[in-house]
Symmetry: C2
Subunit: 104 residues, 2 copies
């Protein structure tokens, strides 16, 4: 189940940090390691988990592999969240921002 892969992937704080780094733009595996005190194999393994969860996708460029946020994974989270919209608090500032962006 991909829903499971997504939540399991995001359960690890290191992977969330990696994912948030990619929120600012595409980066390769080495660039992602900058300032993170993480070994190269560990980073590679984390990226593999994020990739199989469709939270991240790769774009090979020679011997580099650029990673970027994959909208597919995010869409699945949004769809999952939609099941609970009856319980969302009436005022969520972050949501207001989202609405504006989506209305364009």
């Amino acid at each position: 189940m991909m829903e499971h892969d997504i939540f399991r992937a995001l359960a690890d704080p290191t992977r969330r940090t990696i994912f948030e780094k990619l929120a600012t733009g595409s980066l390769n595996a080495s660039a992602l390691r900058q300032g993170m005190e993480i070994s190269q194999p560990a980073m590679s393994q984390h990226l593999a988990v994020l990739r199989s969860a469709r939270l991240v996708r790769e774009q090979r460029e020679g011997r580099f592999v650029n990673y970027e946020v994959d909208p597919d994974g995010l869409a699945l989270i949004v769809e999952w969240l939609a099941k609970y919209r009856a319980y969302w608090p009436a005022r969520i500032d972050a949501l207001k921002l989202l609405l504006k962006d989506m209305d364009q």
Copy 2:
């Protein structure tokens, strides 16, 4: 970190099932066990995890404990998601529904 508690709580498929059961309305621990092949202690432990993640809140009624979805946890997920709104696909039907509900 509460963000961590939330994603860790949702990483377990049994806890997601419990949470989704509560999406339809308030239930006590025994009612939640119906049709789930899960022991009473296991259910109690799962509810404790969901509760400490603020995904669920309890309402004691005599010797029963009714559980319901806690909007606070959902709000934190929405705020986390907001960081990636630049990567959301342009058309997400579920989101469209959300927008309508939020605009009332």
